[in-house]
């Protein structure tokens, strides 16, 4: 035991460091671009814009990532306070508030990057690409940046039907056309802004790059089902940024980095090496966005034998093949390669027989417990941590229902931890650790219950 106590609780992947470092290049590239007078876009993380912008040689910088970077270095505080001074209500998204504070500082310094900005800072945007996907903040926030920048804003539309309506025949095709037309409009706009024409083969390149990265991320995640869990969610988060933010900008390097990571994780699986340097007492899933300012909290949990083997956010989708023979339109090819119907997702995830049950369930209940909770079963989790964010409605509202469904289906209990993505003052590590200790009782109890019910884990 004493030997173990000396080692660090987490056993990080070596291949992670190189990938994590790639993210800094985003800000370097931004800096250089500004110097060379290349257009810089501030972009929201979503499925479509990044590859397109990079195909048009527009440098993409992600304020969402930058805000979490500030938080991770405990430097977000002053920016948050500045946004309060700017008159923004304090309950708004922490990413947005940090970004507003940053923008206000920038204007104050006539467009210069604030000296206190970490990682070289974000250059002034020529273009803001907001997203109607995932949450309202992502278009309201960029719209309100008009107070600070004269950069035009494009809010990229994407459909977000609820599961039941999504299964209605015709919905998928309509939404596909919606995406195709929206992206065409978007490209027209970009051509206007940059004065350049889109080179469609480039889009093929950046697009396929991101698809390849998604493929590798998905394969790595499949490996994570092993016991003991070979890759901790902290490593997942550390490389997530490189994959999602830099994938389209520098596909070859990012693909290579993920290939290396795949090999390392595979090696760990083959030699049953765990992601934590403690006996794997509990396997858990982390639901919600990461507490960027307090990631070390997960180390103290790892120290108690908690291995976070999966997570709900930023997960790669299962790769799929579509027959595009006869599809010549580059935008349509781009969309059809990555947008698929919920029905086919269900078919592939569950296999014909269970799939039809899941679909019935959706038609009956409006949503499917099985669909939402399947990773808990696949990764055989003993418990789930629900990160309720005090500044994020969309990530927080559904969590408790999820917890009920989970307990009800698989007898897997959930622990609610209140905190925030950015604002340290909203997270209480001492309280949370206390609750975690109590939660071990609960996980033990339900492990017994699952056993008595003859469940797989």
């Amino acid at each position: 035991m004493t030997q173990e106590v000396k080692t660090r609780p987490l056993n990080r992947l070596q291949s992670m460091y190189a990938l994590r470092a790639e993210v800094d290049k985003m800000y370097q590239a931004g800096g250089e671009a500004e110097a060379e007078g290349k257009p810089v876009a501030w972009v929201m993380l979503e499925g479509w814009a990044n590859a397109i912008l990079n195909a048009m040689d527009i440098i993409t910088v992600f304020p969402e990532n930058y805000s979490s970077l500030c938080a991770a270095q405990k430097l977000a505080g002053p920016f948050l306070e500045r946004s309060e001074t700017e008159g923004y209500p304090t309950h708004l998204c922490g990413y947005a508030r940090a970004c507003v504070g940053y923008s206000a500082r920038m204007v104050e310094l006539n467009g210069q990057i604030p000296p206190e900005a970490p990682a070289g800072g974000m250059p002034r945007p020529n273009l803001l690409v907001a997203s109607a996907e995932v949450c309202d903040a992502r278009f309201k926030w960029f719209q309100s940046l008009g107070r600070y920048f004269d950069a035009p804003v494009w809010t990229l539309e994407s459909p977000s039907p609820h599961a039941r309506e999504n299964l209605i025949p015709g919905t998928y095709e309509r939404n596909t056309q919606f995406l195709i037309n929206e992206i065409k409009q978007f490209v027209t706009f970009l051509e206007k802004v940059t004065g350049k024409k889109m080179e469609w083969d480039k889009l093929g390149f950046t697009g396929d790059g991101t698809n390849k990265i998604n493929q590798l991320r998905w394969e790595i995640n499949q490996l994570r089902k092993a016991r003991p869990g070979p890759m901790h969610t902290r490593d997942f988060w550390s490389v997530m940024s490189a994959a999602l933010y830099r994938g389209a900008a520098d596909p070859t390097v990012i693909v290579d980095g993920h290939q290396k990571m795949y090999d390392e994780v595979k090696y760990r699986v083959d030699h049953s090496i765990a992601a934590i340097n403690r006996p794997e007492k509990y396997r858990l899933s982390f639901e919600g966005l990461a507490p960027w300012h307090s990631l070390s909290f997960l180390d103290s949990l790892a120290d108690r034998g908690w291995n976070f083997v999966c997570e709900s956010s930023y997960s790669p989708g299962r790769p799929f093949q579509v027959d595009l023979s006869g599809v010549t339109d580059p935008v349509e090819r781009y969309v059809r390669k990555r947008y698929r119907s919920l029905a086919s997702v269900i078919d592939q995830e569950f296999g014909p027989e269970e799939a039809s049950q899941v679909k019935e369930e959706i038609m009956r209940e409006g949503s499917s417990n099985r669909l939402r909770t399947r990773h808990i079963r696949e990764y055989q989790c003993d418990g789930v941590v629900l990160h309720v964010l005090l500044s994020c409605r969309s990530a927080s509202s559904g969590l408790t229902l999820f917890a009920d469904q989970l307990l009800d289906m698989y007898k897997v209990p959930s622990l609610i931890i209140e905190g925030d993505i950015i604002d340290t003052s909203l997270f209480n590590p001492v309280e949370s650790l206390k609750k975690a200790e109590a939660f071990e009782d609960t996980m033990d109890h339900y492990r017994k219950v699952r056993k008595d019910l003859g469940m797989q884990w």
């Binding site: 109590a438 009782d441 609960t442 109890h445």
Partner: protein
């Protein structure tokens, strides 16, 4: 002779329980004040004095509560909610749902027959729905804490408390008093709000009989009545409710102590 010590350093008061085998030998309580280091020393001294037991007879000590980390003579620290569950389980093995009303926070625990926590919820980040609210109100109205509960039951028309914040609850009480509303009705309002809060917490963790209440708040007969009315259940109240967590700690001390002996 083998004795086991449970020390609960709370934000308001600190409590100690001394066990011999499974018999409770002595209780002791003192105000925590502002220095946990002092209080935890004095607490043990005075407790052992009471019991006429010497430090050398203590086989195991478990510390819990806000200031647990300050207890240098403890073998281990255990989270207060676990201790609370275990303590309640010792007094009332049949209890499955525990309402624990402490100074800073209120907890609702669902426990199995071994006294393990199978679900729980704690009032967080805000002292609303905690014993502290009652302290503040008794302070505003200048009525001793032990009298506010019974008085609240005399109310014919409880005021509706709209804020959850303990501190603003005070200002709301202040203005109600200023409006000339009777203390009974104000107190009833506070208790009702607290009972309401507890009720929704119980809903959240899931109801399961039997029900028990402990913590300093359980000394308030009025509060118990309000909670019973709201939950429409009978609450079991241990003789010394404020010591339940310390008792649980002592029990853990005995268990780990026994492990020591066995190993």
């Amino acid at each position: 002779m083998a004795y086991y010590l449970g020390i609960d350093i709370g934000s308001g008061t600190s409590k100690g329980v001394l066990l011999h085998d499974s018999d409770i030998i002595a209780y002791h309580l003192r105000r925590s004040g502002v220095n946990y280091k002092q209080v935890m020393k004095k607490l043990r001294e005075e407790l052992l004095e009471k019991a006429e037991v010497s430090t050398s007879d203590i086989v195991g000590t478990v510390a819990t509560g806000q200031g647990a980390s300050m207890v240098d003579y403890a073998d281990i620290q255990i989270a207060d909610i676990r201790c609370c569950a275990r303590g309640m389980n010792k007094v009332f093995p049949e209890v499955r749902t525990v309402v624990d009303v402490e100074q800073q926070s209120t907890q609702v625990l669902r426990i199995n027959k071994q006294g393990q926590i199978i679900n729980f919820i704690t009032s967080e980040r805000c002292a609303s729905g905690a014993g502290r609210f009652l302290d503040i109100i008794s302070n505003v109205l200048q009525i001793p804490l032990e009298e506010i509960g019974p008085l609240s039951l005399k109310s014919d028309n409880p005021v509706i408390f709209t804020t959850a914040c303990a501190v603003f609850g005070e200002s709301e009480a202040v203005s109600r008093v200023a409006e000339g509303i009777s203390k009974e009705n104000i107190l009833a309002g506070v208790h009702k709000a607290l009972a309401e809060k507890i009720n929704s917490m119980v809903d959240r963790v899931g109801k399961e009989p039997e029900y028990g209440i402990c913590g300093g708040g359980a000394l308030n007969a009025g509060l118990i009545e309000w909670v019973q009315r709201r939950l429409a259940v009978k609450l079991l109240v241990p003789p010394q409710p404020q010591f339940i967590t310390a008792l649980g700690a002592a029990i853990f001390a005995r268990e780990s102590g026994n492990n020591k002996i066995s190993s």
